[in-house]
Amino acid sequence: MEKQPVIQIKNLTKIYRDFWGRKKVRALNSLSLEVKKGEVFGLLGPNGSGKTTTMKLLLGLLFPTEGEINVLGKPASDVSKNEWIGYLPEESYLYRFLNAEETLDFYGRLFDMSAQQRKERANQLIEKVGLQNARKRQLKEYSKGMTRRIGLAQALINDPDLVLLDEPTSGLDPLGSRDMKDLIVKLRDEGKSVVMCSHLLADVQDVCDRIAILYAGELKELGSVEDLLKEQHETELLTSKLSPEAVIDIEAVLAKHNAKLLRHGHPTNSLEDLFLKTVQKSQERPGQRYVPTGSEKT
C-alpha cells in the first residue's frame, strides 16, 4: 500500500529580493517532491543549493515566491502543524543563558505540556542524548557536540511525528555521530518521518531511505538510496580469502561467460568503523596502549 505523504512540495520557487524588491538570488526553482510517512529523507547538495531554504520554507520561516507546500496536510504557514514537528537547526540557536533542564522546560511549555509531563520528558531526553552530567550547566559552557545534543533533545520534546534535522551530525565526534544516526534510525523504526539535510554523504547513505540532490536550487536526482547507488552493469561478490590460483581460475570462469574481473583485493573497513572499534576496546581495557613495531621505531 502506498504510504501517505507527510510533506508535499509542488513547483516551489523562492527568490530572495533586496530592500527595493529587486531580484537577488533564485534559491529554489520549481522544486516538487514528496516525503512519505515513516521514511528518512535526505536533502543533499553543495553549499547554496537550496537545502536550508527548503527546510525553512517547510517550517514557515520563509515564504514561498511561488508554489505550494503542505506539511502534515496543512499549509506551511499554519502554526498548528508545529504541534507534531521537531526541528533541529543547523547551528545552535538555543538560549545560551539557560541550562539543559531549563531549555527543555521552556520548549515543553511552548507545547502547552504540564509541569509533570515536562519534567518526565526532560529527564528522558537528557538521558537519551547523554547530558546527565551537564544538565545544570548553562549552554554557553557547552562544547559544540553537547550543544547539538541538547538541540536534538529540544527537537524531540513533543515526541514529534515529523523531525526536520539540518546538518544533524555537524560538530559531533564519530561517537556522537554514530549515536545521532542510530537515533535517526530508531525514530524511523518508531514510525516517525525524518527529513535531514547534510554535507556528509556517508551519513546520509547510512540512514536515508530516499534522497533528493539539489543543485543551484533545482532538483537533480530523486529516489531511494539503493536504486540511485546501484551499478546495474557490475556484480559484486564477497568471498573468504582466495589464493592467487583461485583468482586465476575465477578469471577463467568469468571469461567463459564474457565477463571480466575488474578489481580484486582485501575489502577495507570504513575509518568510522575502525575508530569506533578502537574506542570500544579502550573503554574495555583502559590500560592498553599502542606500541610501535620495530620498523616504526626509527
Partner: protein, 527 residues
C-alpha cells in the same frame, strides 16, 4: 507643575479611543486591500481578509502557558544579563545622596527635595534599562536566530509579543519595587525632626469671577502678566473669585487651603499683607455667611478651618446668627465660596488649583507608592512601544524611535503644537532654511511667487506629518507624579492614576496588533 488636571472620564475616553482606533484600522485595511489588488490582482482582497481572519483566530487561540513561558524566558534573560544591577547603582546613589542635598533649607523644602530626588532617580534609572531591554530583545533573537526555535513550535506571533511585553514589565516591576522600597526607607531617614511626610487630599472647585459691579465673568482682571494662569480680583470693590466645591460628605469641619498672589498698585499698609475674606454663599436661599478676614500669606499657605456650626453677624438682619454648614450653606451638594480682597487699589490673583478643601490626609506611603506606580506605568508604556518597534526595525533604530516617543511625549508636544498652529513663527522646515540662508527674520513677509508657494505647500505636508505625530504621541508628563508627592499631595485617582492606566492600556492594544502583524508578515531571517 499644576495639579489642576482635568478629571478622567472613562466613557468619553473609551468612545474617543474606539473612534480613533477604528479610523486607523479602517485606513490600514483599505490601504492594504488597494496594495494587495495592485500586487496580487483579484485575489488580493481575499488574501487580506484571510490575514484578518487568521489574526482573529490567533488572538482567540492564545495560550497563557506559552505567553508565560516566553515571559519567564525574558525575565531570566534580563536577570542573567545583569539588568537588576541597576538597583546597585540606585543603592549607591541614595547612600551618598544625603551629603549633597541641602540641609539648611526650610523643613518642608528638605522633604520636597528628598522625595523628588528619590522618585526622579527611580525614574531616570529604570527608563533607560527598560528602553534598552525592550528594544534589544527581539532583534537579538532574530539576529542570533534563537527565534527559529520558538516559531517552529506551535507559538503564535502575538504570543511572542505578549510574552515579551509581560516579561519586561515584570522585570520593570521588580526593579521599580525594589527601588521604591529602598527609596521610601531613605526618605524616612532623610526627613528632619521638625518636618513630617504628609499626603493631603484636595478637593478642587470650579472657578468663576465677579467684576467690580458684581456681574459674573469667566476671568478676572489681567494685571499685565503674559502668563494668564491667574486672574485678579480688585480690592475694595464687589469683585471676587467664586469657587464652587463639590460637597458629598458631611464632616465636623472643613479646612480651606489656598495660595494667592498679590499685585499691588501702591505700598498699602507697611508691614501688613493684603486682607482677604471668604464669604460662604447659598444662592438658592440668598444666604451670605462672611467669615473673618485674614492677612494673606504671600508665597505661602493660607489655612482656614470652618466648623460645621458657624456664628456670624448678619448685616442684612443686623443680628448675630448661627447656621449649619451642611444644612444651610451647602446647596445641591455644592459649597460656594467667594474670595474678596479688602484692600482698595490692590489686586489678588488666583487660579482654580490655588484654593481647595483639604480632606482627611492619607498615609504618605500611599501617595509615594502611587507615584512609584506612575514610573512603572510609564515603563510599561515604553516597553510596549519598544517591543512593537523592535518587531519591524533593528535594535538601535528601535531604541531611537522609542526614545523619541519619550522625549516628545514628555516635553515637546506643546512646541510641536505651536509649530502646527503657526503660533511659532518662522514656517516649516524649508521656509526656515530659506529664511536662514536669505537672512529674513520671521517678521518679514515672503515674496508672493510660485517658488514660495511651492515651498509652503511642501512645508504643509511636513506639518501634516508633524500633526499626526503630535496626535499619536501622548502627553507622558501625566506619568510623572513625583511633584504631587513632593509637594505633600496625594496622587489623585481620577486625574492622574486612571488617566495613566487608560493611556497604557490604550496604547498596548494597538501595539499588540502592530507587533503581531509585523512578525507575521515578515520572514524571520536575520538580514
Amino acid at each position: 507643575m499644576t495639579f489642576d488636571h482635568a478629571p478622567f472620564l472613562f466613557g468619553p475616553a473609551l468612545l474617543h479611543w474606539v473612534l480613533v482606533f477604528g479610523c486607523f484600522a479602517g485606513i490600514v485595511f483599505s490601504v492594504s486591500v488597494l496594495i494587495a489588488l495592485g500586487v496580487y490582482g483579484a485575489s488580493g482582497p481575499t488574501a487580506v481578509m484571510g490575514r484578518v481572519w487568521q489574526g482573529l483566530h490567533d488572538f482567540l487561540g492564545i495560550s497563557p502557558r506559552r505567553i508565560w513561558a516566553i515571559s519567564l524566558l525574558t525575565i531570566k534573560e534580563a536577570v542573567r544579563r545583569k539588568a537588576l544591577f541597576v538597583f546597585v547603582v540606585f543603592a549607591s546613589l541614595v547612600m551618598f545622596a544625603g551629603w549633597f542635598l541641602e540641609s539648611d533649607l526650610r523643613a518642608d523644602l528638605q522633604v520636597k527635595n528628598a522625595v523628588s530626588f528619590a522618585l526622579t532617580t527611580i525614574s531616570w534609572l529604570t527608563l533607560p534599562v527598560v528602553l534598552l531591554l525592550s528594544c534589544w530583545g527581539l532583534p537579538e533573537d532574530i539576529r542570533l536566530r534563537s527565534i527559529h526555535t520558538i516559531v517552529t513550535k506551535p507559538v503564535r506571533r502575538n504570543e511572542i509579543v505578549m510574552g515579551r511585553i509581560l516579561g519586561f514589565s515584570i522585570v520593570a516591576s521588580l526593579i521599580v519595587s525594589m527601588m521604591g522600597v529602598v527609596g521610601y526607607v531613605w526618605i524616612r531617614r532623610q526627613v528632619p525632626n521638625n518636618a513630617e511626610l504628609i499626603c493631603r487630599v484636595p478637593v478642587y472647585g470650579e472657578l468663576s469671577f465677579l467684576d467690580r459691579e458684581g456681574n459674573l465673568t469667566d476671568k478676572g482682571v489681567n494685571t499685565g502678566d503674559i502668563w494668564e494662569f491667574r486672574s485678579y480680583v480688585e480690592g475694595g470693590t464687589r469683585s471676587s473669585a467664586v469657587y464652587k466645591f463639590p460637597m458629598d460628605k458631611v464632616t465636623d469641619n472643613v479646612r480651606f487651603e489656598s495660595r494667592f498672589e498679590a499685585f499691588r498698585t501702591h505700598k498699602g499698609r507697611i508691614g501688613q499683607s493684603l486682607l482677604v475674606r471668604y464669604v460662604l454663599v447659598n444662592p438658592t436661599k440668598g444666604l451670605r455667611v462672611p467669615l473673618g478676614s485674614f492677612e494673606v500669606a504671600e508665597f505661602g499657605l493660607n489655612e482656614k478651618d470652618v466648623d460645621r456650626q458657624i456664628s456670624f453677624f448678619d448685616e442684612d438682619k443686623n443680628d448675630n446668627r448661627t447656621v449649619d454648614l451642611f444644612d444651610d450653606v451647602v446647596d445641591q451638594n455644592t459649597l460656594t465660596v467667594e474670595v474678596q480682597c479688602l484692600d482698595a487699589g490692590q489686586y489678588l490673583g488666583m487660579a482654580r488649583p490655588d484654593m481647595f478643601i483639604r480632606m482627611p490626609d492619607r498615609s504618605f506611603v500611599v501617595g509615594y507608592f502611587k507615584a512609584v506606580v506612575g514610573v512603572l506605568l510609564l515603563s510599561i508604556f515604553l516597553i510596549s512601544i519598544g517591543v512593537t518597534s523592535s518587531t519591524f526595525v533593528k535594535g538601535p533604530v528601535s531604541i531611537l524611535l522609542t526614545f523619541t516617543v519619550l522625549l516628545v511625549g514628555q516635553g515637546f508636544r506643546e512646541f510641536m503644537l505651536k509649530l502646527i498652529t503657526g503660533e511659532q513663527k518662522g514656517g516649516g522646515p524649508i521656509e526656515s532654511w530659506y529664511r536662514l540662508i536669505t537672512h529674513m527674520n520671521d517678521t518679514l513677509q515672503l515674496p508672493d511667487n510660485f517658488g514660495v508657494k511651492l515651498m509652503q505647500s511642501i512645508d504643509n505636508l511636513f506639518m501634516g506629518g508633524l500633526w499626526l505625530v503630535q496626535h499619536l504621541i501622548p502627553d507622558l508628563s501625566y506619568f510623572v507624579m513625583s511633584p504631587y508627592v513632593a509637594n505633600g499631595f496625594d496622587v489623585p485617582w481620577s486625574t492622574a492614576m486612571a488617566k495613566c492606566i487608560a493611556m497604557t492600556v490604550g496604547y498596548l492594544v494597538p501595539c499588540l496588533l502592530v507587533g503581531y502583524y509585523s512578525l507575521t508578515l515578515r520572514e524571520l531571517e536575520a538580514k
